[in-house]
Each structure stands twice: as C-alpha cells, then as structure tokens.
C-alpha cells in the first residue's frame, strides 16, 4: 500500500495512540493537571513528580514557552540584574521529571467530568487539578485603564515584556519629568512590590535624571514596610518621592493614557511616565471554574490548599485566599510543597504530615540596602495563621552590613526558588 507522507504520519500516530492508551490505563497512574507554571504551579509540579516517584502522571499547562519571573523584575528596572536572567525554560521539568509541559491556554474547567478545556481545542482529563494562575486585574476598576492603555501606562505586575516596557519608558522621561505610580488597594500581589519599584526607579533616575520627580497615588492608609521605605527614600533619594494618599487627593477617578494624565479628586496631573497597578482578583481560570467568592479570590482549606468549593481542585499562590500569608512567590512555593504532600496522601496513601508554611519578602531600596519581612504560618480550621513569635521585620536604622547580608540572601533565594521551579533549567541568560 502506498501512502503519501501525511497519511503515513497519521497512520503512525494512530498506531502509537492505540498502543499507548491501554498501557496508561493499565498502570492506572493518577493524573494530576497543573494550570499555571509560576512560583506556585511549577514548584508544585516538580514537588509532586519528585514525591510521587513516578507514581503520578503530571501535566503542566502554561502558555509561555519561556517564563519571565515577575519577582526580581524591579531589580531589572533598577539595573541590578539583566532582563535575560529573569527568563527560564520548562525543559528541565520535562527532561528531569517527565512532566508533560503543554504550552496552551486553559479556557475553562469542566468540573464534571473533570477536564481542562484548552484554547487550542483539546481537553485534558484530570483526577486532581491544581490552579495557580496568579492574578488578573479587575476590568474597568480604573476608568481609562484597559489593555490598550497598558501600553503607555504599564502595570509591569506580571513578568516579561510589561516590565521591559516600563523600564524603557522611565529611561525615556525628559529631564525633570514626572513619573507616577498608581498603587493598588489590598489585597494584591507582593505587598512591598510597588514601593521597591519606586525605589528602583528612583535609583535609576538619581543617576540619569536627578531632577525628576516620583508621585505615588496611594489608596491605602498604610503600606508594607512603610517606615523602612520612607527612611530609605529620605536617605537615598531626598525630595524625589511624594506619596499622595487618597485621603488627600480623593482617589484616582480615571486615567487618560493618550494624554498621560491621572485624574484624582477632579485634579489633573500630567505625567511623563506612569505605572498603574490596578485592583486585582484571582486569575481568570479560577473565576470561570466557579471557585472564587465575593472577594474575587478562592477560599481554600488551610491544611491542604484544596478549594473549599471542590475537593478535586487545589488553588495555589496569588489566586487563593491565603489567610495571614501575603501573596508572594515565596508563599506560593511554600504552599506548593504542602499541596503536593496533601495530594500524595490523597492519591498514593503517602504518610500524613503536619503542614507548615513560610514567607520572606526582600525589598531593595538602594545598592546593598535591602530590607526583609517574614514569618512562619500554620493552618487552623479557619485560615492559614501566623505562628506566634515567628514574624520578623527589618529595623529602621540597622547597620549597613545587615542590609547587605539581606541583599545577598535575596540573590541566593532567587537562585534557589528558580531552581526549585524549573529543575535546574538553565536560565535564558546562561544560554545566551
């Protein structure tokens, strides 16, 4: 029989499928599907594959072929790390841990009969599903700020091109120009992140554009590490940064990205560059799966990270309601470990364990001046709660060596967590 080339390939695939399907069913390996390959999802996929010892079939659905971490994006803006060093390949997860990495977009979750619907048209069945899609912005929350406006007023609060765009726009500001950051209301990803970002932009401007000004439109009465940032700004960037609380301005009513205007309390502020970090909610797939409540985030069981609304679905990281934990990469990675152990108990009857969580967030204010906040956490029936006496925070006025040690620790953490997420995949930087 003669076959054309396409026909031969079709026949070949059919034969492989026919052989493979019964073999997989025969092994009855439980199928765990992970949506989102960030600090929660990638850490989870690797922890489950390692802990499962080949007994679990792990599929990771993530649209990006190369993942740019949002964390450390501020250090790139400040000129402390290269953009390429933030990019990571998923090859290590595939090669070292036999994780099936599917580069597609999860459109919907069919919770009965437990399938993920992909934008590319496929359906992926699961026995357990883990959703870790991060944050999305609440559409329409700031009139005038939509996806088109993000080109001129980037959020830069998801990694990659948005961060590069913001850095380029800050660099293009005229001498003595004005940069504005519109800070988000609670709760949001990385509580000190907007203020580290302001510090890094000030660091850049001090060298290139020292008469430039930075305005922060601030909806919160207080923000993370506020006294540490205020003292640091006073020390390193005196007179450059102004915080305009909503109490004073009346709050941001709308923005005009074409005119580069921010309107607050009826008063128009013209700016040369802006970063607008809008109000946030759980990533879209968690919403469409019906796992969120009125807060916009997904309630979870504090002992396992399982969604309260569906025991077959786990929600990790920024999309979850984390109790006392902040939304951070460190926290998502910590939650991933607990969730992986909980699913191994569930599926493979692995021994029980006592869940514990941890978080540390570092913020760089200027060269070698890095502050940190952190705590240990344990589950209670109501929420993930801070362990009494475990919380720590850098002190105002502490010595320079402590701050420098913090910075070195933050670099070591970046190397450790990205290795934990990507299984030693060489970062893009190392391969270029």
């Amino acid at each position: 029989m003669l076959l054309d080339r396409r026909g031969a390939i079709r026949a070949g695939l059919a034969a492989v499928a026919a052989l493979a399907a019964p073999a997989v069913l025969g092994q009855a390996r439980p199928r765990v599907v992970v949506v989102g390959g960030g600090a929660g999802g990638a850490s989870f996929a690797r922890a489950l594959a390692m802990g499962g010892g080949g007994g679990v079939d792990v599929t990771l659905i993530e649209p990006s072929k190369e993942y740019y971490t949002c964390f450390f994006g501020n250090l790139y803006i400040g000129g402390f790390v290269e953009f390429a060093s933030l990019g990571h390949s998923y090859a290590g997860l595939a090669v070292n841990h036999a994780i099936n990495v599917v580069h597609d977009w999860a459109l919907a979750i069919d919770r009965d009969p437990r399938q993920v619907v992909l934008a590319g048209g496929g359906r992926v069945p699961y026995d357990r599903l883990v959703l870790s899609p991060g944050i999305d912005f609440i559409e329409g929350a700031i009139p005038g700020w939509d996806i088109a406006a993000e080109a001129r007023m980037p959020h830069a609060y998801k990694g990659g091109t948005q961060v590069a765009l913001l850095k380029a726009q800050v660099a293009a500001m005229p001498q003595g120009g004005v940069f504005a950051l519109v800070a988000p209301p609670n709760p949001y990803r990385c509580p000190p992140g907007p203020y580290e970002r302001v510090s890094m932009i000030a660091h850049h401007l001090r060298a290139t554009n020292p008469t430039a000004k930075i305005l922060i439109f601030e909806p919160k009465e207080a923000f993370a590490k506020q006294q540490l940032f205020e003292a640091g700004w006073s020390d390193h960037y005196p007179g450059m940064i102004e915080v305009l609380p909503d109490a004073f301005t009346g709050g941001v009513e709308r923005v005009d990205a074409a005119a580069m205007e921010i309107v607050a309390g009826g008063e128009v502020t013209r700016v040369d560059a802006a970063c607008v970090i809008g109000p946030q909610r759980a990533g879209r797939i968690v919403q469409v799966a019906g796992l969120t409540d009125a807060t916009g985030w997904a309630p979870i069981d504090p002992f396992t990270m399982r969604a309260r609304a569906d025991p077959f679905v786990t929600v990790l990281g920024d999309s979850a309601q984390p109790g006392d934990m902040p939304k951070s990469a460190f926290a998502a990675n910590s939650q991933a470990k607990v969730a992986a152990m909980a699913i191994l108990v569930d599926l493979l009857e692995a021994p029980g364990f006592a869940p514990r969580y941890a978080n540390v967030c570092w913020s760089l204010i200027d060269t070698d001046d890095c502050v940190r906040i952190g705590a240990a956490f344990a589950p209670t029936p109501e929420k993930i709660a801070t362990v009494d006496g475990s919380a720590f925070l850098s002190a105002v006025g502490e010595d320079a060596e402590t701050r420098r040690t913090n910075y070195l620790a933050s670099l070591a953490w970046y190397a450790a967590i990205t290795n934990d997420m990507f299984a030693g995949s060489p970062s893009a930087a190392a391969t270029r």
Binding site: E230, G239, P245, F248, G397, A400, R403
Partner: protein
C-alpha cells in the same frame, strides 16, 4: 537638600454657610533625631513643629507637632464660610524653615 513640597486642596467655590473640607499634605521626612542613617551616624532631628491655617487673616487651626507624628503630616478640617477670602497655610520646622501656601475661595 530635600525639597519640601506643601500641597493643599481647597474647593474653588462654596455657597454661603456651606461646610467645605480643607485638606493639607506636607511631604517632610519628620526625622526624630533617634535614627541612624546608612553610614551609622544619627540623622539629625528635623521635624515640623507647627501647622497654622488662617482665613482672611484670622487663625482657624493651630497645631503643635511632636516627633511622634509620622513622616508627611496630613491634616484635614472643615470650614464654614460666609464670604470669599484667602486661606493661608503655614508649616514651621525646627531648622527654621517656613513653608507657606495661599488659596482663594469664592463664596457666593
């Protein structure tokens, strides 16, 4: 030297007898004199010690400020006005600097 920026928000107009909200913000580090800088040396005390708001030359609000007040002191108050006039807002700090802003309001 740090540039200290006083900002105020006063409505441009008001009806006679209307109560209007006046908001003031001074971006000022409010150094207590008890904090060490990155060089290990104590940062000298530098705080705003007094805030005075006047309308048509008459003091309407006067505040003594201590080091316990956080950076960037924010004050708001309400005023009921019967006639047009000029608000004067004046902050004085303990290095002798005075920051002053005036703002008209048309009542009628």
């Amino acid at each position: 030297m740090t540039t200290i920026i006083p900002r105020v928000r006063v409505p441009a107009t008001a009806a006679p007898g209307e109560i209007v909200r006046i908001r003031t913000l001074l971006t000022h580090p409010m150094e207590t004199g008890r904090r060490k800088g990155p060089d290990g040396v104590v940062v000298p005390r530098w705080i705003v010690t007094r805030f005075v708001a006047a309308f048509a030359g008459e003091t309407i609000v006067s505040v003594e400020i201590d080091p316990a007040i956080a950076a960037n002191p924010y004050f708001e108050f309400d005023a009921r006005l019967e006639a047009s006039g000029v608000f004067t807002f004046r902050w004085t700090d303990d290095i002798g600097a005075v920051y002053e802003v005036t703002q008209d309001i048309v009542v009628g």
